[in-house]
């Protein structure tokens, strides 16, 4: 049964020690991911989605950070493993595509060398083979004239090209799980479409599981099979992409969908807003973190935190005391 699960995350918690006190960036997150599945993690800034994706693979900052719970990637327990132990799965089992291709490439190293590195260190390839493989990878991610580009510095490439290089580096050692943390946020719409298509295509070709972390509901709508919605360090709703979009129960999910402007709207359409602002993670109440902004909130919501509970569809869970009614029709807010 657990054999088809590539990733099992249980009660994962990441806390940062800050000047203002302990900051629970991720608080008790559990989910699992099947092989060849694409999961979308959606949340606004500060919801903990980036920290979660890094903690899953053990890549959280090393100072002032405490992690508890469990994250098992293909049988390897990441939580509690030493840096040396984690190094054995990084690149080969799990790899990451970072948000900002401007800062995630070493500016003083030729891009070819940055791809080579993993091949030579991790796979023990010799210089010549590694170079040949790196050029293949550049070709794979759609970089024109890869032989010349091999010797380019990151500064000589455009944002879209750099993100392709980052993807090439992540794929170098054929990982089973690819974490893509806001891979298209800084890119133009047309380039964004190119990169997302590339990721889709590579996923199918290389038989990977993908976790796509984003704040943009448009990114996850058509490219994931399941979605987890995060708020204040917790998953507040999770289910198949269709369930989350069409049959969501958590008011926050609804609010998120309602407040984003749509191309199909008539001009001067009034947007539905969420009052207030995201909570301060340093002083969270015992109740539901969304309660202060929720129009359905009751006393219970302010006092007791709701745990994830199942909705009627299989695998669809939500954390809310006063959920939205079950919606039989597939409609968007």
């Amino acid at each position: 049964m657990s054999d088809d699960k590539l990733l099992i995350v249980k009660d994962l918690t990441t806390t940062f020690a800050t000047a203002g006190g302990d900051l629970p960036a991720v608080a008790g997150v559990s989910f699992d991911l099947a092989r060849n599945e694409t999961l979308g993690i959606v949340g606004e800034s500060g919801s903990g989605k980036t920290v979660l994706s890094r903690t899953i693979m053990g890549l959280q900052p090393r100072v002032n950070t405490t992690v508890s719970g469990s994250s098992i990637i293909d049988g390897f327990e990441v939580v509690g493993a030493s840096e040396n132990e984690k190094r054995t799965i990084w690149g080969t089992e799990v790899a990451m595509v970072f948000q900002d291709p401007m800062t995630s490439l070493n500016p003083v190293m030729r891009i070819g060398k940055q791809i080579d590195e993993a091949l030579r260190v991790r796979l023990g390839m010799n210089r010549k083979d590694a170079k040949a493989r790196a050029i293949e990878l550049l070709e794979l991610v759609g970089i024109p004239s890869p032989v010349q580009r091999y010797n380019a510095y990151p500064g000589q490439l455009s944002g879209g090209m750099r993100q392709r290089v980052v993807i090439a580096i992540a794929l170098a050692c054929s990982p089973k799980l690819l974490m893509a943390d806001e891979p298209t946020t800084g890119l133009d719409v047309t380039i964004q479409a190119q990169i997302l298509n590339l990721l889709d295509e590579l996923k199918g070709r290389l038989k990977m599981s993908v976790i796509l972390v984003t704040h943009d509901l448009g990114v996850v709508a058509t490219r994931t099979s399941r979605i987890a919605v995060m708020y204040a360090g917790r998953i507040v709703e999770t289910g198949t992409t269709r369930d989350v979009f069409y049959h969501h129960r958590m008011p926050y999910t609804r609010a998120l969908l309602e407040s984003s402007p749509k191309v199909a709207n008539k001009s001067h359409t009034r947007l539905v807003t969420i009052p207030g602002r995201p909570p301060n993670l340093l002083s969270l109440s015992d109740g539901c973190s969304f309660a202060p902004r929720c129009k359905y909130a009751t006393d219970q919501c302010h006092l007791v935190r709701p745990e994830l509970r199942p909705s009627i569809e299989p695998g669809h869970t939500f954390a809310c005391w006063n959920p939205l009614p079950i919606n039989a029709e597939a409609t968007l807010p």
Binding site: E44, A193, Q194, P261, S267, H268, P278
Partner: protein, 333 residues
């Protein structure tokens, strides 16, 4: 919307040239448009297309190398000294990065009062009431937050303070340069609604510059699309989105991601990346990426032609007007 419209702003053949290592780079090359009193014109395009530079050139934050900018019939490009400073107060600008638009070492009250203090147009008492009034209008309690420093506020609140500051001199025209692109969706919706309210209350005319097509559609009466320093299409928002006449606009709309799992996947994405403005293509600037390009596109620069009332396109082969099947969207309370 009133029936009789007079142009508040008339931009004619605006050009902005930068010098990079002695090479002339034409960031804006011959842009002309008008904005009617009380209207919102959206200006969309990808990064580097010159939309922000256009906005800045209108206020002469960057110097136009050619062309005229007439605000209420007065050519601003010929003004200097005090007349220019005074002209700038009739237009105002809101910037992309809310945090860096406010001086971190000044108090909120002083930031909002800056234009009043520059011109010493009001007495001390008037100043205080005016500031309190403005801050309340944008949803910031002046008695609680007026004396705080700008660095203590979140992005959304900073943007509110920026708006309050920009309204202090009762400007006619507000230039919004990517003002919501750094914000989370929930905050973005609040700011956009606030902007619409204030626009009505203060009788503002807006130039709304953004890369997000959905956001632009929501606030604009008319939309202009820029590519590589030129406007390629301009027209009423609803018809332009419904039936784009320029191939670039169509690609742009196709690449925009709808937050809907059932939205059609656009198989045709725009390939390649925009050419460098240092060395733009001859003729039509989009021809290097355009599937319909012919020899004529390389030889002749297309001039704006009217394809529908008020709908101008600069293309030798404009797309025929057709009605795209809009995604069915149901709206709920």
């Amino acid at each position: 919307m009133s029936a009789i419209r007079t142009p508040l702003l008339r931009v004619n053949d605006l050009e902005v040239t930068f010098y990079v290592h002695g090479h002339a780079v034409s960031a804006v090359s011959g842009v002309s448009f008008e904005i009617m009193e009380g209207e919102t014109l959206g200006l969309v395009g990808e990064s580097g297309c010159g939309k922000s530079t256009t906005g800045k050139a209108l206020m002469r934050i960057v110097e136009p190398s050619k062309g005229t900018v007439e605000l209420e019939g007065v050519d601003i490009t010929k003004e200097s000294g005090k007349a220019l400073r005074s002209a700038r107060t009739r237009m105002q600008m809101i910037f992309q990065d809310p945090i860096s638009s406010l001086n971190p070492r000044r108090r909120v009250k002083d930031i909002v009062a800056e234009p009043l203090d520059c011109w010493k147009s009001v007495t001390g008492v008037e100043r205080d009431t005016l500031i309190s009034d403005l801050l309340s209008k944008v949803g910031i309690d002046p008695s609680v937050y007026g004396n705080r420093y700008a660095r203590q506020f979140s992005g959304g609140q900073c943007q509110r303070i920026s708006i309050a500051r920009s309204l202090a001199m009762r400007p006619k025209l507000l230039i919004c340069d990517e003002m919501v692109s750094a914000l989370d969706v929930s905050v973005q919706a609040q700011i956009l609604n606030l902007l619409e309210d204030l626009k009505a209350e203060y009788g503002l005319t807006l130039l709304f510059i953004a890369h997000d097509l959905a956001v632009v559609k929501n606030v604009s009466d008319r939309v202009a699309v820029m590519y590589l320093g030129k406007i390629c299409e301009i027209g009423p928002a609803d018809t332009l989105y419904e039936s784009p006449a320029h191939p670039y606009t169509e690609f742009l709309l196709g690449a925009a991601l709808e937050a809907d799992p059932d939205s059609p996947m656009h198989s045709q994405t725009l390939e390649g990346e925009p050419p460098s403005p240092m060395n733009p293509p001859s003729g039509c600037r989009f021809r290097t990426r355009c599937p319909n390009a012919t020899q004529k596109c390389a030889d002749e620069e297309p001039l704006p032609q009217e394809v529908a009332p008020n709908h101008l396109v600069s293309c030798h082969y404009p797309l025929t007007i057709h009605h795209k099947s809009a995604t069915p969207i149901t709206l709920e309370g």
